[in-house]
């Protein structure tokens, strides 16, 4: 055991049992998985991505590139979890990744011996030929050998949540600068949200030994947190990762891995601290080689001695502070090598554990732990999310964000204020001051960067997680990838899940050296969200499976469900597709029965999903005249008219019937899918195009339940339901409408027909819809009424040649659909000018026709292309395509609608439907698209 007898911010009265790769261990409350593993002398925790090299724990924070493990089992497994930030809990099961058969004996470590092959660009250069083998052979092999943890491939059983936060000041990071900033702003009465990734606020003060106002810095942390907790205008979110900064002061965060926060802040202070740089020398990845700040953290915060013989290799004063802190705890370092004195560590020696180090004077010292203090990189990533570029500061040897985006202020180590006193002072200043800066113990932060140890033989890693070495960076430079962005992509440096938090700046520096540039000239990359990995599940939240989008039910839904409806999704709506009866073999038999029942008797269909818009005001008819190609100002009160709307570019946008209920009041209907778009279009027309018109428009789609009652017996059915209402041709002619009262509620009846039969549409306020549908079927029972769904509706509209979604596809004109004569010449309307363009009135454009197979036994399929008989099946000979097909029970064979070049002139001609991927070629005859009752006698009843 490496646990020290005393000390650390752990609760030794609360032991926690956990397992790693099946073996059982014990840690304490307050441990992370990493500190508990080290306390149990586990140093080998992972295999590297490409070479399968043994890897240990490098850091004590979220920048960890090596110690990624899988937590849990089966569907609950969470791969690639950083052991360094995972709080230990009782029963935790962790397992190592990317090894086979075991972590200790990984057969793919042969990749390390073959490593001369695996340099940067290896895949691009080696697996070039034959190209066909990429998908089948090379890529699967490479993917198996290289990698991270595996997904369970089962649905994620975790529950995710979402919340919103609004504040005057968002403080990111609860280290000394962040705590001071939050306190200063909190005391000033600002609404403060303090977000910190750790389970416990304090930042580096938990890991280093300092004094504030003459007492332990931990006392100051506790007092500050206590005061913040007492302020009602301050909220602290611990274990919360702020993963991205977005436009307009919006930030994304994830609390506890489970709750997505969308935070809107007037201002934000990024007190995100700094990340210590590893040093680049041979063997710098052997388990036991760690950052100095991590060694300090494990000893101070978790009471764990990471080794028995510890050496420190430093380029900065912070390394000397680590030596002092260790000595104070009773772990005297074996040696301290300060590169500023001219001494270097040239090589670390060991396999699965560090055994010794070699120094530049040739000495070899036996150690089991090497603490690397390579200087600090301010964590400026979030500040770069919106495009601000960091600048190199020679003074501190690191990148700083000199001009963060508006509303954002950098503070503390993130702003280059590395010393404790300076960090606290910068936090207070960023928050607007108003609070004295406490006295702090000395905390020197001198540093001189050392980018590369020369004459170091062996693999020296820059990006640990992607196994990128100093030689890979040099190779990239030699091969011409001399910008940091190109070097990044060629070597994959910084592209692993840690996004180069420990390696990017070292990589930039090595590239600068190789290309003879300064750090300033070499530049660096911009960080994009997410700053840390975020699971897709937390972004999806509750919006998955059946909750992916809202579901809309019509008021007749329950009735349809009781009557055996099969539903289809139409946008968000559930619509009854058909109502199968016992004994029916398939949907085609059901739909054919519904069509025949309607055409010979009476059928009822729920058409409530159609878009409905109330247009009201003195200028209502003027507005409609400008929206539709045809005229509505002449429509008498109590009458309905079919209308066609174009886009301004001249193509058809939507169609539907509009009814005039008063001089200044119209009831517009749209297709189901376009309801929202047409509402938007009408609002644009009345608010932006013609604001001078006195007219209002309101969506009433969900206010009315509407049922179509169709068929020769429809009037008989309604006469039973509405015995007092005169439904004769004189009182309610075809395309007539009226309002009346049904059982005390306002109702509307329309003489409209989509089926081509005598038909009515009956509408009541939506919450009476269920009552009405039940009453309609009660009244119709003796007449043999049948419910019909969207499929039968579709069959009947094809039989009548009415265009619908497949024909109103955004590429057809009114003339294409056979409605060119509706285009009014007496007024302006949206799309008028552009619809008259020569190419849009060319008769060679594909135009609506009907087709039926010459052999009545053959089936038609939509999507087939049209060819003249004998023409070769090439694109140049394409004459259009089949848009809609159905089996017509009325005619006893398949029929279709198609868009055919010069269509109207070709009725009677025989052509070919070319469908090479399904049924091959079918000979069809071109006919009038109105297959049933072309004279329109039946609708007038």
């Amino acid at each position: 055991m490496s646990r020290l007898p005393t000390g650390g911010l752990i609760d030794r009265t609360k032991p926690l049992a956990f397992s790693f790769d099946g073996k059982r261990y014990t840690g304490f409350a307050g441990d992370t998985l990493a500190s508990a593993l080290l306390a149990n002398d586990i140093r080998l925790v992972a295999r590297s991505f490409k070479y399968h090299r043994p890897r240990g724990i490098l850091t004590a924070g979220s920048e960890e590139p090596n110690a990624l493990v899988t937590i849990g089992r089966g569907a609950h497994a969470e791969p690639n979890t950083r052991a360094t930030t995972l709080p230990l809990f009782d029963g935790l099961e962790a397992s190592s990744q990317n090894r086979w058969p075991s972590l200790d004996h990984d057969l793919l470590s042969i990749n390390g011996i073959l490593s001369p092959l695996f340099v940067a660009g290896f895949y691009y250069k080696t697996f070039m030929w034959p190209a066909a083998l990429w998908e089948k052979l090379y890529e699967p092999l490479i993917r198996r050998a290289a990698g991270l943890g595996a997904l369970s491939m089962e649905p994620d059983p975790a529950e995710y949540d979402a919340d919103h936060g609004f504040c005057d000041l968002l403080v990111v990071g609860a280290g000394p600068a962040g705590l001071a900033a939050a306190l200063a702003a909190g005391r000033a009465g600002q609404r403060v949200l303090l977000v910190d990734e750790d389970v416990r606020p304090g930042g580096r003060l938990l890991a280093e030994r300092h004094e504030i106002d003459g007492n332990s810095a931990l006392d100051w942390v506790d007092a500050t947190i206590a005061e913040l907790a007492s302020l009602p205008n301050v909220r602290i979110l611990s274990r919360t990762i702020l993963f991205g900064a977005y436009d307009g002061g919006t930030y994304g965060a994830v609390e506890n891995g489970r709750r997505l926060w969308k935070i809107v802040a007037r201002r934000a202070i990024l007190a995100t601290g700094a990340i210590e740089r590893p040093l680049v020398f041979a063997g710098n990845d052997i388990p036991g080689v760690m950052t100095a700040s991590a060694v300090q953290a494990y000893a101070t915060r978790w009471g764990v001695a990471p080794g028995k013989r510890i050496a420190i290799f430093t380029t900065s004063d912070s390394g000397l502070k680590v030596a002092a802190d260790l000595a104070a705890i009773g772990i005297e370092p074996v040696t301290v090598i300060d590169a500023r004195d001219g001494m270097l560590v040239t090589r670390a020696i060991g396999g699965k554990a560090l055994k010794a180090i070699e120094l530049s004077d040739g000495r070899r010292i036996a150690v089991d732990t090497l603490a690397m203090a390579g200087g600090w990189n301010p964590s400026v990533g979030l500040g770069c999310n919106l495009g601000a570029r960091p600048n190199w500061s020679e003074a501190i040897g690191a990148y700083l964000l000199d001009s963060p985006p508006g509303g954002m202020i950098m503070a503390g180590a993130a702003a280059g204020a590395f010393g404790l006193g300076a960090a606290i002072a910068s936090g207070i200043e960023a928050a607007g001051g108003g609070m004295p800066v406490p006295a702090t113990s000395e905390d020197p932060s001198g540093s001189r960067p050392l980018w590369h140890v020369p004459h170091s033989r062996g693999k020296a890693f820059v990006d640990y997680q992607h196994d990128v070495t100093d030689k890979d960076v040099a190779l990239a430079a030699r091969e011409g990838f001399t910008s940091v962005e190109h070097m990044k992509r060629y070597t994959t440096l910084g592209m692993a899940t840690d996004q180069g938090k420990t390696g990017q700046v070292n990589g930039n520096a090595l590239l600068a050296i190789a290309t003879g540039k300064t750090m300033s000239e070499a530049g660096t990359i911009l960080s994009r969200p997410p700053y840390l990995p975020v699971s897709i599940g937390v972004l999806a939240g509750h919006h998955r499976g059946e909750h992916f989008k809202p579901v809309r039910h019509t008021s007749g839904h329950a009735w349809a469900l009781e009557n055996g409806a099969t539903f289809v999704d139409t946008g968000q709506w559930k619509r009854a597709q058909w109502f199968a009866r016992p004994g029916e073999r398939d949907w085609l038999e059901t739909v054919s029965r519904e069509v025949t029942a309607t055409r010979t008797g009476v059928g009822i269909c729920d058409v409530s999903t159609l878009g409905k818009i109330d247009v009201h005001g003195p200028d209502a008819s003027t507005l409609l005249d400008r929206l539709y190609v045809n005229i509505f100002s002449t429509l008498p009160v109590g009458r309905a008219r079919y209308g066609l709307m174009l886009r301004e570019d001249g193509f058809v946008m939507d169609d539907g019937t509009t009814t005039r209920f008063a001089e200044d009041r119209f009831y517009v209907t749209t297709t189901t899918v376009n309801a929202a778009r047409i509402m938007q279009h009408i609002d644009f027309a009345r608010q932006v195009l013609w604001p001078e018109l006195d007219v209002q428009a309101t969506s009433v789609t969900e206010q009315w339940a509407t049922y179509a009652i169709a068929g020769p017996r429809s009037r008989a059915l309604l006469a039973k339901l509405l015995p007092d209402l005169d439904l004769s041709n004189e009182a309610l002619p075809y395309m007539g409408a009226m309002e009346f009262h049904w059982q005390g509620v306002t109702a509307r009846i329309f003489r409209l027909s989509f089926s081509g039969e005598m038909a009515f549409e009956l509408a009541v306020p939506a919450h009476h819809g269920d009552r009405l549908i039940r009453a309609l079927f009660e009244a119709g029972r003796v007449l043999g009424v049948a419910p019909y769904g969207t499929e039968a509706l579709g069959v009947m509209r094809i039989e009548k040649g009415h265009p619908a979604g497949n024909e109103l596809n955004g590429q057809t004109t009114a003339t294409d659909l056979g409605m060119g004569r509706m285009l009014s010449r007496k007024k302006d309307f949206i799309g008028r000018v552009m619809a008259a363009r020569p190419a849009l009135v060319n008769p060679a454009r594909p135009t609506l026709v009907g087709i039926h197979p010459v052999d009545p036994a053959r089936r038609l399929r939509a999507g087939g292309h049209l060819l003249a008989k004998g023409a070769a099946p090439v694109a140049a000979n394409d004459q259009g395509h089949v848009t809609s097909v159905c089996y017509s029970p009325t005619l006893g064979h398949w029929i279709g609608l198609a868009l055919l070049a010069n269509g109207p002139a070709r009725h009677g001609e025989r052509i070919i439907v070319h469908d090479p991927i399904r049924d091959g070629d079918t000979e069809v005859e071109v006919v009038n698209p109105v297959f049933v009752d072309p004279e329109g006698v039946r609708v007038r009843g």
Partner: protein, 79 residues
Amino acid sequence: MRIPCPFCGNRDTQEFVYRGDASPTRPDTDEAMHDYVYLRDNVAGPMREHWYHAQGCRNWIVVTRDTRTHEIISAEFPR
């Protein structure tokens, strides 16, 4: 991104539908219609745009946005 709707106040962009450049106005002459429908400037800088507050007040508003920074300079009713 957030848009200061003149009717509803500062709201998240998810509530809005974007249409595009607000500069072209519907012409009175047939000859000018082609340019109105098809020609748009690719602005780098402040641009007047039409946004529809579909999940709010249902007003069309004219938002002046810097296309380089996404800074919202103003938001007003079109008339």
